[in-house]
């Protein structure tokens, strides 16, 4: 099949970026979107041009590395699918695909379709964990969890942190991500002791990153490849309000977002250099 890929090209953070159209004459309908880009990149390398940079890892829809906008929808038109699992047969012959990266102030551009999503890591570091004692493994049935509760926690835990929710949100809010990371712990008894502080800290870090505010419109859940529901945002709101009410004198502190790349060396090396 024939396709035209209109891809966002940007050499680095300081570059303004632009769309470049690539005509592809022989796209195999069974290829995934990423494989299609691989084929394009092969031809670009043969022509001596810079290949399109995009993130990928597992290519089976569970790592959360890949993701970009296709015709205005994160991960493309197929619901509950990441771009690595999206096969080209879902597009029409002769179609033009507009491919651009996630756009948000909290996701600074790195190169082409790659954005810096370390803001998500900092939100998780702010409270997305539970504290457990080390030593022998506890008895498996010491804490009883009903099937219903564990299912709900697992639904929230399905979040792979790809960033499609932020990309889809008109406010560039990360409420669905933060909500999922709060809810999958908060629903379970193991997450209960740190429940109040967790929501306060993670919401504070989310706000420090410069994400927008949630307006409950639900674009995120439509774009989410793991179909995380808006309920997790309500859980975040409840925990946040509860935590704010119950807080005594613990001070909530946030980490300053770091947007530069560390080279691990004091030598002056250009961290954006590709080789």
């Amino acid at each position: 099949m024939k396709l035209t890929l209109k891809i966002w090209r940007q050499t680095g953070r300081k570059d303004k970026g632009r769309f470049v159209s690539y005509a592809m004459d022989d796209v195999n309908a069974e290829m995934s979107m990423l494989e299609c880009l691989d084929v394009l990149n092969e031809s670009l390398i043969e022509r001596g041009e810079e290949p399109v940079a995009f993130e990928h890892d597992c290519r089976e829809g569970i790592c959360g590395s890949c993701g970009f906008m296709i015709n205005g929808i994160p991960h493309g038109p197929l619901p509950a699918t990441t771009v690595c699992q999206l096969t080209m047969r879902h597009f029409k012959d002769g179609e033009e695909l507009v491919i651009e990266p996630w756009r948000a102030a909290a996701f600074p551009a790195v190169k082409d379709l790659v954005v810096d999503r370390r803001s998500f890591d900092r939100i998780i570091a702010a409270g997305g964990y539970i504290s457990v004692s080390t030593g022998n493994a506890p008895d498996g049935n010491a804490i009883l969890v009903s099937k219903d509760t564990s299912d709900r926690a697992m639904d929230a835990a399905a979040c792979i942190g790809c960033g499609a929710c932020v990309a889809a949100c008109p406010n560039a809010s990360s409420a669905l991500f933060t909500g999922a990371k709060i809810a999958h712990l908060s629903i379970l008894p193991q997450g209960a002791p740190e429940r109040d502080g967790r929501a306060l800290n993670m919401v504070a870090q989310m706000n420090a990153e410069g994400f927008g505010g949630c307006t409950n419109i639900g674009e995120c859940t439509g774009a989410c490849p793991k179909e995380i529901q808006l309920e997790v945002i309500a859980t975040m709101n409840r925990d946040f309000i509860r935590g704010s009410w119950k807080r005594r004198d613990q001070e909530v502190r946030t980490v300053k977002p770091m947007t530069e790349w560390s080279t691990g060396s004091k030598l002056k090396i250009d961290p954006h250099a590709t080789s």
Binding site: R103, N216, N237, F240, S244, K256, M258
Partner: protein, 230 residues
């Protein structure tokens, strides 16, 4: 590249409840709920226009004889409007900062029309409320006929006999309905209440309530224009 640090240990004190996006939404939910209750009470009072001049004027008089209660209620409503709008403006400014470079193509796939137009329906309803207060509460601007202090029935009927006043009223009330259709369920979400079984019911209820409110309000200017109420 892969060894890049995630954050620097340069800590900052987090802003409080109002300073966070979630806190602002909670404030918007509570103030919105209070304003929603007012909208219902106001409708119930106004529908007395169908019971004739004596009944409506007596109701108007009753509100004014509440005396010490009238202004506290007004102040609470004014405070709610102020907080609701302040939070909206701040979140709208944040929205602009949060996505400095826009998309060349963006499709809405899962949101409702009313939720996407909240930023429009809100300000237009505000403009209408200001007009409405000048028109029927203060009597500062009352085209068509003279405003008579205390004769609520006369003011309403002669006011709505001006066609563009009625059209503007109907248009604004429909926008208020759209605003409520999203707002009624959204306030529960902002306050942390969402349930896979109850929220769909809540959303349908929001539809029914919004449509009922719109029909209730626009029945007044329509009846005046059709000559049913004169």
């Amino acid at each position: 590249m892969s060894t890049s640090a995630v954050g620097v240990r340069e800590e900052e004190r987090a802003p409080g409840f109002w300073g966070s996006t979630n806190g602002k939404k909670a404030v918007m939910a509570v103030t919105g709920a209070i304003l929603f209750i007012f909208v219902i009470g106001h409708l119930a009072g106004n529908l007395q226009v169908f019971e004739g001049p004596a009944k409506l004027n007596a109701y108007g008089k009753l509100l004014h004889t509440l005396g010490e209660l009238l202004w506290p209620v007004r102040i609470v409503l004014l405070l709610c409007v102020t907080l609701h709008i302040t939070a909206t403006v701040q979140l709208a400014l944040l929205k602009k900062r949060a996505r400095p470079v826009g998309y060349s193509a963006k499709k809405a796939i899962a949101s409702s029309y009313s939720s996407r137009t909240m930023y429009w329906s809100g300000p237009i309803v505000l403009a209408f409320v200001i007009f409405h207060l000048l028109h029927l509460t203060a009597g500062y601007y009352h085209p068509g006929a003279a405003f008579i202090e205390g004769d609520v029935y006369h003011n309403v009927v002669s006011g709505f006999q001006v066609w563009w006043v009625s059209v503007w009223y109907i248009f604004s009330v429909i926008l208020l309905g759209l605003h409520l259709r999203h707002g009624i369920w959204s306030m529960f979400q902002s306050l942390g209440m969402n349930h896979p079984r109850h929220t769909p019911i809540l959303k349908s209820t929001a539809w029914v309530v919004a449509v009922t409110i719109v029909l209730g309000y626009i029945s007044i200017p329509i009846s005046v224009m059709l000559g049913v109420v004169k």
